[in-house]
Symmetry: C2
């Protein structure tokens, strides 16, 4: 399959199909990690959006999450109930709320981050040589934000 003359699109498709299968296969691992921390996927996304120490306004959170402002209220409510986030006031404009992580939130986020960064068991099946080749190759993948 896919000799040296294959088109770039065909190449990308082949790569993608493998990666996609790997994403699917490793999904349960990620669910498990979230479960261990008693977090929903949404909670996790929210935690990662709250990395600015000064906190972020509800509006900017809603925008980042691509959802309704009232939905952001709900998400932050849940984090707050869990003691992971808190609403602070912005001196100078009492309409806005700055949502920031509590010490527990910071700790939880760090622990979650650590666990999510740990490779799923599937990846450890590869031997050293293959991992090295893979590392070199995935370093070329485009990166967003962070």
């Amino acid at each position: 399959m896919a000799g040296p003359s294959s088109t770039k699109a065909a190449l990308a498709a082949e790569v993608w199909q493998r990666l996609f299968a790997f994403i699917i296969d490793t999904g349960p691992h990620r669910s498990q990690v979230l479960g261990q921390h008693d977090l929903t996927p949404n909670d996790s996304r929210a935690l990662f959006a709250l990395d600015v120490p000064e906190g972020r306004t509800m509006g900017s959170l809603a925008e980042a999450w691509g959802c309704d402002a009232s939905n952001a209220t709900w998400v932050v409510d849940r984090l707050e109930k869990k003691g992971l986030a808190e609403r602070r006031s912005l001196a100078g404009d009492r309409r806005v709320r700055l949502v920031g992580l509590t010490p527990l939130g910071i700790k939880t986020k760090a622990a979650l981050s650590r666990d999510l960064d740990r490779p799923p068991p599937e990846l450890l099946e590869l031997d050293r040589t293959d991992l090295e080749a893979l590392r070199k190759a995935v370093q070329k993948l485009p990166q967003r934000r962070r």
Copy 2:
């Protein structure tokens, strides 16, 4: 980072963090594809579990999905309402139901599969050489079922 003397675990971690970031970044693309077909992630998972032409029993579906039998009933109900799946009887044991795809279900599944197999825009940012290296590397990734 990570010279030739890094441990296998460190190597795997480095690979994984890149892959994981890519999974997150390309998530919206997958959501969009599902949305275009008016399917939830659950529906999609269900469609892909129904590839056996003879159909599968409710019990085996519940097991495959790691859920309660009544949940499987609900999922199949939804597929049936959409005209994508149907319950058939097993000659010889009238207790069991064999769930199979309808012609529309087969068609929908094929279309979904085609669209999900299409690489996300992020991947097309790589040039040919990088894609070739990546192809070679990802071919070593372990594969489940399918």
